[in-house]
């Protein structure tokens, strides 16, 4: 294809160029719209899967929703009416879709509270932990990556070994160790169940260690690889300083794979936070989800799954936009 473009007359190329630069913002809008549509499709698929699960689980759907908690016949009749459980299956499906689309996740018959109220109460704590962890991951990995992007091989392998070790540590065990050392022995940080800001330090450290090690490694490889790129040697041959070289040319290239990785990490942190919340007995989605699973509280389980999936999908779109901003090559790729 390149050859075709190459041989096209200058005038045509010119016209195409004008169109391209003028279209910049419009292609971004289109990218976001396309990604939103795709995400809506994915989420619709996820909702459909949960509907199928409710159908195939043993026992009647009403029993499943009730999680075998004892309720009066009136409440039971209310569920049947709410979910349209007497209707034919396609109608039931549409009713279900409509409810989820309106954000009506129903009632947790175990907690005897609307599901959404409970999630809304617990979500901020989890999001706070995810946010501090992401921040810690970025700061720690950039510092470590830049420091370890050293020409000396032994420095690099030292960092690489340390990263392998940290990645192999189960985060919940790291949390336990931190608790043992810093809370039980040194008493620097509150033990468990604290909602004070200092109570965030240990959970954040436990959760951020693994991702920070992974990202630092990727960043280091990216920095070293970029240093050998022909355009970096060319820039150096123009007589610019080392600091400008790293800032203008090298770091941006090294950050490209990191953005993608961070998007993925942000998604998996939602899951990781669940475990860490339990280690530190923190309030949050984690404990909510775990008790829901233990009690087979399906309305709650489904709501948590769908809410976290939606969050994950939004993060992915954000990463796409970020990549679009950093890398001009991706701007023409979708056409």
């Amino acid at each position: 294809m390149a050859g075709v473009l190459k041989t096209s007359p200058a005038g045509v190329a010119e016209a195409r160029n004008r169109r391209r630069s003028g279209q910049g913002r419009r292609t971004l809008v289109r990218l976001v719209l396309v990604r939103l549509a795709a995400s809506a499709g994915v989420l619709w698929g996820a909702v459909t899967v949960t509907f199928v699960l409710l159908q195939v689980m043993p026992g009647s759907t009403a029993d499943v929703l009730l999680a075998r908690s004892s309720v009066s016949p009136e409440v039971r009749a209310g569920i049947v009416a709410q979910y349209g459980l007497d209707d034919p299956l396609p109608v039931q499906y549409l009713t279900y879709l409509g409810r989820i689309a309106r954000g009506e996740f129903g009632e947790s018959y175990v907690l005897r509270r609307p599901v959404w109220d409970e999630i809304a109460a617990q979500l901020p704590g989890t999001l706070l932990l995810v946010a501090t962890t992401l921040l810690a991951t970025v700061v720690a990995s950039v510092v470590l990556g830049v420091v370890s992007a050293n020409r000396r091989a032994w420095v690099r392998s030292l960092f690489a070994s340390a990263e392998s070790l940290v990645v192999a540590l189960p985060p919940f065990w790291l949390g336990l160790l931190l608790l043992t050392v810093f809370s039980c022995t040194l008493h620097w940080f509150p033990a468990i169940g604290s909602s004070s800001p200092s109570g965030l330090v240990l959970p954040t450290a436990a959760l951020a260690a693994g991702p920070a090690a992974v990202v630092a490694g990727v960043l280091r490889e990216g920095l070293l690889r970029a240093m050998d790129e022909p355009f970096v040697v060319t820039a150096r041959a123009r007589g610019i300083g080392e600091a400008a070289l790293r800032l203008r040319h090298v770091l941006r290239h090294a950050l490209l794979p990191v953005t993608t990785l961070l998007g993925w990490i942000a998604g998996s942190l939602i899951g990781g936070a669940v475990i860490i919340e339990i280690v530190f007995s923190r309030q949050g989605i984690g404990r909510l989800a775990l008790s829901a699973v233990a009690n087979k509280d399906m309305p709650m389980v489904i709501a948590v799954v769908l809410v976290t999936a939606a969050a994950f999908v939004l993060v992915t779109i954000a990463v796409d936009i970020l990549t679009w901003v950093i890398d001009p090559r991706t701007r023409d790729a979708g056409r």
């Binding site: 795709a38 995400s39 499709g41 994915v42 989420l43 698929g45 996820a46 899967v49 949960t50 699960l53 689980m57 392998s164 070790l165 990645v167 192999a168 540590l169 189960p170 985060p171 919940f172 065990w173 336990l176 160790l177 608790l179 043992t180 039980c184 998604g267 998996s268 939602i270 899951g271 990781g272 669940v274 475990i275 339990i278 280690v279 989800a289 775990l290 829901a292 699973v293 233990a294 087979k296 399906m298 389980v301 489904i302 948590v304 799954v305 976290t308 999936a309 994950f312 999908v313």
Partner: protein, 266 residues
């Protein structure tokens, strides 16, 4: 294999034997409670100390190898089998099948891993097998994508094109060139996933969604240790060391195997 990897290969071998025949490593019953000796520190009698019920930690770690490693391994094998099947089907069965399968994978991947496992456990009920299935569902899309990508890449590879020119049938070309060359990257993903799956399965046991107590499982042991953190450090340390060492051994040996496969391909 480089000399520096030999210790890790040895660790892997020891763990495999431990999982297969734990009685070779200890004569102590891992479930024998001695209520007179709870939370004893490491000593000559109890090498790694005892837990809150006076059970020998060393014996529990030895007997814990099987459930702790089996769930992760089983999850990877299940994911590998299902993923390759789906990936090859997506690559071979035409556009419509490809679209349907690929979009379905997107749906599975849209749910953060651990919560997807929660969903599976909520449906099937907790237990070791459920945990393995849940983890397999989470990692299956990765295998499917790699397998699909490899088959599509190899289909247009020049050496596959050349093989068609020798007069082989389509099936012969697939058997001779496509499958053997696609196997490398898929198996590489399997070795990389194994370490992550061992960590994930211990996490599930830690929150009580793994094998039922009193099964000795490393994650579950760590969970029990939480209540006595202020009294005894050893129940909170040694099972974690076991997990970390197992993961490191799997990772290092796996990386080495991957590099050898890659070297063969480039």
């Amino acid at each position: 294999m480089p000399r520096s990897l030999w210790p890790w290969a040895a660790v892997l071998l020891v763990l495999a034997v431990m999982a297969a025949a734990p009685s070779l490593f200890t004569g102590i019953d891992p479930d024998a409670a001695d209520l007179d000796a709870p939370l004893r520190p490491p000593s000559a009698e109890h090498w790694l100390g005892t837990d809150q019920n006076g059970r020998d930690l060393y014996a529990r770690i030895v007997y814990g190898a099987r459930p702790s490693l089996l769930i992760g391994t089983g999850a990877v094998l299940l994911a590998l089998a299902a993923g390759v099947l789906i990936g090859v089907a997506a690559a071979q069965l035409g556009r419509v099948a490809d679209q349907v399968l690929s979009r379905s994978l997107d749906v599975v991947m849209s749910v953060p891993g651990l919560l997807l496992v929660f969903l599976v456990v909520a449906v099937l009920g907790p237990g070791g097998g459920t945990a393995a299935i849940g983890l397999a569902v989470v990692s299956m899309p990765g295998f499917a994508r790699v397998a699909r990508g490899e088959v599509i890449r190899l289909r247009s590879a020049q050496y596959v094109e050349a093989a068609h020119g020798f007069g082989w049938s389509r099936a012969q070309v697939v058997a001779r060139h496509v499958l053997p060359n696609a196997a490398g990257p898929v198996l590489a993903l399997a070795t990389v996933s194994l370490g992550a799956m061992i960590v994930a399965s211990s996490s599930l046991s830690f929150v009580g969604l793994g094998p039922r107590p009193p099964t000795a499982e490393w994650g579950a042991m760590l969970s029990e240790s939480r209540e006595f953190l202020a009294l005894a450090w050893w129940p909170a340390v040694f099972p974690g060391v076991a997990i970390t060492v197992a993961v490191l051994a799997v990772t290092f040996v796996g990386q080495h195997l991957n590099r050898r496969v890659e070297g063969r391909h480039s």
